[in-house]
Amino acid sequence: MSYRLTHRRWFTPWLLVAPAAVWLFAFNVWPSINTVVLAFSNAKPLGGGHFTGLENFARVLDDEQLADALVNSIVYMLVCLPLLTVLPLLIAVLVEKRLPGIMFFRTAFYTPVVASAVVVALIWGWVLDDQGLVNGFAQWLGVVTEPVPFLTDRWLLLFSAISLTVWKGLGYYMIIYLSALGNVRRELHEAAAVDGAGPVRRFLSVTVPGVRTTMLLVSVLVAVSALRVFSELYVLSNGTGGPGGRDMSVVMLIQLYSRGFTGHLGYASALSLVLLAVTIGPMLLLLRLDRKAA
């Protein structure tokens, strides 16, 4: 009897969610609200700052470096999105099979995920450097006479970073797909095979529809993380953003403006909101495509 009474107290559910709710408010909701407020001010970390209306957003329109950063982030997303949505699925289909030694390949694909992004980027920096492994090997083979400027040319640096992101992300999304593939009914594959469908046909007509929801989830995760790229570009360019800062991502710009004693918190917040707006676009598109496909 007493148990039933305790269970029915009106505040019990609130008590249970309170720790998570406090955490969510303190570290997600409040910083988000604060970012919106700061975007309309010229706030500094140490005093000063007042309401400046749309001044920060007018400055955004004139910022050539932001234009470069947006191009970089969008190219990043456009290249990463198909690669990291499809390649991990193909790998998952391959390693899903119960063959001798398959655990080795599963582990090998997943290993880069465990490594820190900064450490991996540092290693790639050494590999792609003028005196690095790739250039040394290419020169030894006689493929090139001069080192390829992987880390100092605007586009080569960007695509080097994209390659790193794709390589590192394959294992992570592969694991997500592996769990989704487990839910695709085996009878469907058997029925398709009986009807004469080959492996490609079964993949397109049975596997892909079976993991379509997961593909959408992966696409959204890839799109958001690609637009928010930071570590890869930061470490490969040694924090400089490349000559002229043309390889900076939007997050690198936000970090640059918000740090230090004289950080421009208002402008950095406005950049955060620009990034939010840019991120919502592809998300809405992906969700619409999913609804149409359904």
Partner: protein
Amino acid sequence: MRRYWAGMAMATTLVVSGCGLGGTEQEAAAPGPSATGEVKGEVKGKISLQTWALKPKFTGYMQGVIDAFQKKYPGVQVEWLDQPGDGYSDKVLSQAAGGTLPDVTNLPPDFALPLVKQGMLLDLSQADQKLAGEYVPGGVDAYRYAGFNGVYGYPWYLNTDVNYWNSELLTANGLDPDKPPADLDELIAQAKTVKEKSRGKVYLMSRRPELGDLTNIGVKIMSDDGSRFTFNTPEAAALLDRYRDAFKQGLLPRGVLTDTYAGNAKLFTEGTVAWTTAGGNFITSLAADNPSLAPKVVPSVAMGTPPLYVQGLSVSKRTANAPAAIALARWVTSAENQAAFAHLVNIFPSTKASAGDPFFSKSDGTPSGDAKVIAFTSLAKAEMLQPVQVTEAMNKFVRQQFALAISGDTTSKEALDAAVAKCDELLKG
């Protein structure tokens, strides 16, 4: 529709909270009890002292200094806080914003300026009128700021840059280590010789110019009133053009476009570059990283005006025990305590009384000893080559534009104009 909202919430959470900014406007510090006039009173009470990355290497030294202070003033209790090397500016910023700045804090001049602007530091020229007479002018001037009367830090220790040459690489590539380049013309000429003799495997030059290099050729970085930047001059463009031509001829490694200054010394340590600039204690650290190279290094005086690097101790205006805080800052930076510190590590005292100390002016005959003497004698004409108003963000934009000019992707004039425009924009906030 529910999916749309779930997606929107996800994006909002990932983007906005990830980039969220917690900072809010802070009230300027209220004037402390010793806002004006000389601070006099009994040295007593509890005070805090914050240093930067002295533990664990110099724990014994600092604890000895603090113990001696507490012995001299039995009514004082010092709480010593030492912060790690990385993220020190962020730590000080959070302390200042939260009103928890220690009573005495190690602040280089560029860290102290924003705190001075907010009225958070004590004017020590008022509080301690003997200050200017006891410390070298360069050190004291580093804590004077345009638009503010007063001195906002006790200079603690000083350093400067020395040229270091890899004698083995120079000899192997047809150059005389005893006749190192004395200016940019000679440097470029010798860099060509090294490139030709080594067939491009060894470099002499491995750093791109920075604002200090412009100061060194007579370019004024800022207007006198500190209200705008002025370094987009034809002379500055000519200097960048020379580096661009040198880069085009392959006299600098391509990594110089994205490398930081530390990269210069790193390549030197690896033995792929024959010249670097570094502080007076560089050979000591080199001996640990590359023991076989250290004895082959020849030091020489830095080209042009040597840069002056200053560390100091500032006193919070909010300190509850101003007499004790000032006494502690003065004690730590006293000639005796600085000299004892300089015997442990290659730094140089900022007190006038230390100028005649033979420990600094006589070499023991080793390359490290020679470098120490060169650095010490260089301090007499060393200057802060970059205005303290130049922030980390400004420095980054300048480096990016200089790299772009040197790569040849834009003209030097365009790069300088872009850098000045951005620095002005950041200065105005």
